[in-house]
Amino acid sequence: MSSSTVVQFNIQIGDELTFNVKPLLNEVKHALDKLIETGQSTVIDLRSIPLAPGEEEKILNVLGLGEVQARLDALGLSEVIETRYAGVWIVTHYNDDDHIISRFIEVTSMPEILCSQTEDIMAAYSRLGLTLNDEQKNNVEDS
C-alpha cells in the first residue's frame, strides 16, 4: 500500500475547533483578577472540559514555563509548574506508570500541595525525636 492511499484520521485543528481554549484562558484571567482583588485562589480541573485533540497542548503552550518547576514524589510523580504568568500554576499528577491521572490549573500564590502539611510536620517532629533518642542511646552504649 503506498502511503498516499492510507486513510488518515488525524483531526485538522482548524480555528473552529479551538472553541474552548479562549473561554478557558479568559477564566484564568478572571481568576487572577480575583486573586489580586480578594486573595482568593481558584482551581480549574482540566479533565472536566471537553477539549479537542491538541487543545490542552495549546493551552499549556500559551501559558508557557515560568520560574518554578517542582517535582513531588507522592503516590507517583507530581509536577508543579509556575507558568510564565506569575500566580498561574499547572499541577499534574501521575500514577506509578507515569500516566497523567489528573491535571489542574491553580491560580494562587502557592499551590497547597507544595506546602509542608501540618500532619506531616507533626509526624516528622516525633520521628526526629525518636532518631535523636536512638543516637543518644547508641552514644551512651559506645562510651
Binding site: R47, S48, L75
Partner: protein, 365 residues
Amino acid sequence: MINDSNRDKTLGETLREQGISRRSFLKFCATTASMMALSPAMIPKIAHALENARRPSVIWLSFQECTGCTESLTRAHTTTIESLIFDFISLDYHHTLQAASGHAAEQARETAMEENYGKYLLIVDGSIPMDNPGYSTIAGISNYDMLMDTAKGAAAIVAVGTCAAYGGIPHAKPNPTGAVSVGDLIKDKPIINVPGCPPIPVVITGTLMQFLTFGSLPELDHIGRPKAFYGKSIHDRCYRRPFYDKGLFAETFDDEGAKKGWCLYKLGCKGPTTYNACATTKWNDGTSFPIEAGHPCLGCSEPDFWDGGSFYKALSMPTENITRTVIYTAAGAAAAGVALGAMNRHKKNQAVATHNRTSIDDLKK
C-alpha cells in the same frame, strides 16, 4: 480478603499506618474529586469526609455478563489511586477476582452478609435470566436466588454495566434467556445504575467513591444514573459539535469530511441521545474516545441500545430548517438539539419494536 483489624479504622488512620503522607493524601483527594466529576472547590470537603470514612464491606455478584465490566475496572489507569481504594474497601466476595472458590467462596459471602447486615454495598454486573434458572448459576444457586438473597441486607446496590442496569446485550431481541435488569427485580432498595458497555473505569470508581466518601447516594437522573457522569449527552460535550452546528457532516468513513474530522451524525452517531462521560473523561488513560477515533457513538449507556436500529444509520437527518436555526442563533442551537433529540428518541423507540439488522450495504453507504 477480609482484614478485620482494619474494619473499624477510618481511611485516614489506615493511610497513616501505611506511611502515606498528608501530601499524598491531598493528591489522592484532588484526583478523587476529578474522578467524581466534582468541582475542585470540593477537595477540602472530600479530604475531611475521606479522613473519617470507615471501611465498608462490598459484595460483588457477576451474573450473565462477559467480564468486560470487571476488566474495565481492573485495567483502570490510576493504578496507585485505585489500589488505594481497593485496599480501603473490603471486597469480601467477587467470584472472578477472589482466590477461594466453591463452598469456601459462598461461605465468605454469607459471613460478610451476616457481619455487615444492612450496611454492605452490593455491586452487580450482568443481567438475570428469568426463563430458565439453569442458564446461569453460581455454586448451583440461580442468579435470581443469589441476587434476592444478597440484596436483602444491602445498604444500596450499584448495577455496573448496561446488562445489570437495563438488561443490555442478553436482553436484546429476541432475548433468549428472558434477561432482566437488577431494577426490574428489586424495588425496595436504592439502586445506582452505572451503565456502559463497559462503563468507563473512572466512572465506576468515581461512583463508588462518592458513596463511600459521603455515605449517601449521588444525585440520579430519571433512569437511575449519577448525574455527575451522565448528566450531559455525548453530543453536548463533543468537540466535533461546531461542525454539526455548521451542518458539516462526514458522509462515508473515508471521504474528505471524515478526514477533516467533521461530525459523524450521518454515519449513525448516537451522541445526541446518549448520556455518558466519554467526551471529557475519555478512554485508555484519557487518550481519546470513539468519536475522536473516527467512529460514531453506539449509545452503549442507554437502555436497549442494541435494538435501536443500525449503528450506522442516522436515526433522523437534521432538516434544512434545523441546520439553519443552528447557524443563526446559539439559543436556536440548543432548541434544535432538543428537537432532534426528541425526534431521535421517537425513531429509536420505533426501531426497538422491529429488530433491524446491519447489512454490508449500511457500511458501504
